[in-house]
Assembly symmetry: C2
Homo-oligomer: 408 residues x 2
């Protein structure tokens, strides 16, 4: 597995094996003498990428055939990497820990462009209209916004919370309109940036939202921005529909401040934690999920789980929530039945489960098992394994259907 495998172009899925041509670029491949194709050219709605962190490589995958199409390397440090997609689904924007922002073509299977936009970055987002790609940075602390077509810098938003002091930025999310929200870890602030005119970002600054926001989510309706706090108990909530948004503290029982247990891995917050009216939030350090009513933002239940939860991800229809865990329990995945709020199944899809991603309508879930060099694909109704893909140390999994979703 060490050398990157040749790229199997998307059209190969329809034209059948092309033998020695497989390594040629997409448009060369399968076009023997420019022959007319034997089938429609495939679309990009069922494509995705799997991060191979150790090698700085992305595997390109097809969720209809459950196959690896090929790999794209040269992406730098992909620890804690995240990915967003162009509006048409043909390009993946990859945010590396080293500050690299790369554009990978899924249809050509190659790295198209790469810029070093910061010294230390922690993910990004893309605007609802697909024109702006925003990166959240630790060094220098702030947000940088790029033209999605050219990767030219169009806006630089230093997170200067005091003269000369820049905060690390976390919890960056897209909002309806050309807007983004993000949190300042070192300042305890939440900023809302309106880039209707990218050259003149309008910043709404919310102060004293709580100590050390470490991650955040926006609900799928774009209304509520919720930031987890590392420096104290509870979370900060902003109703973005208010005329003048304010941050209020909720869920003092969230965990961290009250009883600082050893935390093996901080949970991730994202819009996927919301299932219908309920949010399922990993309690920090505890073997519990908090169930929160998003109408009142009160805790309505707690669910005991198999370890310290890292991701709690609702199936797109909200009928199930799938949970993975920090060490030492990261060989397990649990499935929560939402109506009964009970653990319906405990699965062991592989060693070191790092991430899970649902297919667009949730009929399948892809699970990365890093230490087994495997991605397992499970039927979410029967829980049967539909496919297993061999990939070196897979971590994050991202499908192009995210391009059509808010807060992903």
């Amino acid at each position: 597995m060490s050398p990157a495998r040749p790229f199997l172009p998307v059209r190969r899925r329809l034209l059948g094996a092309l033998g020695g041509l497989a390594a040629a670029p997409l448009l060369g491949t399968g076009l023997a003498g420019c022959a007319a194709p034997q089938a429609s050219i495939a679309g990009t709605g069922d494509l995705g990428v799997v991060v191979e962190r150790a090698r700085g490589t992305l595997a390109l995958v097809d969720t209809s055939r459950r196959q690896v199409l090929g790999e794209v390397g040269g992406l730098g440090d992909l620890s804690h990497a995240s990915v967003v997609f162009s509006r048409d689904g043909a390009s993946a924007f990859v945010f590396g820990r080293d500050g690299g922002l790369s554009r990978v073509s899924l249809t050509r299977g190659r790295l198209e462009q790469r810029v070093m936009q910061a010294g230390n970055a922690i993910g990004g987002a893309i605007s609802a209209d697909g024109t702006l790609v925003a990166a959240q940075n630790y060094v220098p602390g702030g947000v940088r916004v790029f033209d999605a077509r050219t990767l030219e810098l169009v806006a630089d938003i230093p997170a200067e919370f005091a003269p000369g002091r820049l905060s690390r930025v976390v919890g960056l999310v897209d909002l309806p309109g050309r807007r983004f929200a993000f949190s300042l870890f070192d300042a305890g602030e939440i900023w809302i940036a309106d880039l209707a005119e990218p050259a003149r970002p309008q910043i709404t600054r919310l102060r004293d939202i709580g100590r050390q926001p470490y991650d955040a989510l926006v609900t799928p309706d774009g209304r509520h921005y919720l930031a987890g706090l590392f420096g104290e108990d509870g979370l900060a909530l902003v109703d973005l529909w208010d005329e003048t948004p304010v941050a209020r503290r909720i869920l003092a029982g969230y965990g961290r401040g009250q009883a600082p247990l050893p935390v093996y891995k901080m949970p991730h917050l994202r819009g996927w934690a919301v299932a219908g009216r309920l949010a399922f939030l990993p309690a920090i350090g505890r073997h519990e999920l908090l169930v929160v009513d998003t109408a009142t933002w009160q805790e309505v239940d707690r669910i005991a789980v198999a370890g310290q939860p890292v991701f709690a991800i609702a199936r797109p229809d909200g009928r199930q929530v799938w949970v993975n865990f920090a060490v030492p329990d990261y060989d397990r995945v649990q499935v929560i039945d939402v109506p009964s709020r009970r653990v319906a199944a405990t699965l062991t899809p592989g060693r070191a489960v790092l991430h899970m991603e649902f297919t667009p309508r949730g009929e399948s879930v892809w699970i990365s098992a890093r230490d087994d060099d495997r991605v397992a694909v499970l039927d979410t109704m029967t829980l049967r394994t539909q496919a297993e893909l061999t990939l070196p140390a897979p971590s994050g999994i991202f499908f192009t259907s995210r391009a059509a979703r808010l807060g992903f």
Copy 2:
């Protein structure tokens, strides 16, 4: 406008004008001597179709550039036509009133396949996993299910509610898993078909659900199936999460039975009527929208609107609901602000507004104005017109992002 314009292939968006090559098939076009392309191949996530009913033609559109890419004809009777998309977004399945089921390639810009599957049809759906395309038919009354790759018939489900008597079928929707729900207009029944094994459909039959169900929706979470009743007041509701689903009557105030006003056009029901926790339902014959709490299924408000509503469609984030109207008020579109439940704006985008479709994350809405031969594209935040496309008598508008959504 009478002759179908030549197809402008998707790649032309990136390679620039190709002059006389424009009419050639996609792979021929822009590949002068199989030269390597100058840019990534475009994806299909930002494509869609506009029905030109009078000509039996689909216009293929690009929602990023707000352009018409070309037209595909030969689709038969497209009155009341509906469209679903393949899982990869490359193919549109078109259900014609004449019983024709056509597969159109968006990437090649041509009709790939066409079967006459019934004598009189009224739309269809595609399974969550994208493998099964189902058509709902008036003549012969029932549902026929086809392999999405080959359009071969894989299941025939006659709606035989009494010996030798077939009902017209309406309100067909996809459910999680390989399941569909639909209503029998002539029988007053709702059927749930599980096609885990397509050769052996398992039918759950709900009787006496109410007189003359005329259309239905499934909520975006796949939980509630709601059928409008033409023959009496109210709607029929099924909680699909129940062990043994039953239909109950709700919303006696829905309109039809209680005060049979002249109805110029029956409203359409679909999952898009749900905005967060609320559903916005067109009252039949009345100049009102009913606002229903989907947690209790009680009416919580009524909103006076400019005419008999036909479509009430929530922006994907649920912050707005856009409404169009039956004659004589179909030159207007109203925008409902969801938090205040008030009419925020009344627009006149053109004469004979027949349909509206939001871009995947809702930053824009496309509106067909049949009698002005125009599709208007509006910014949903500013309500400003972003583009106007000239198309002959446009009606239904469908974007590929529907492929990733349940109940569309």
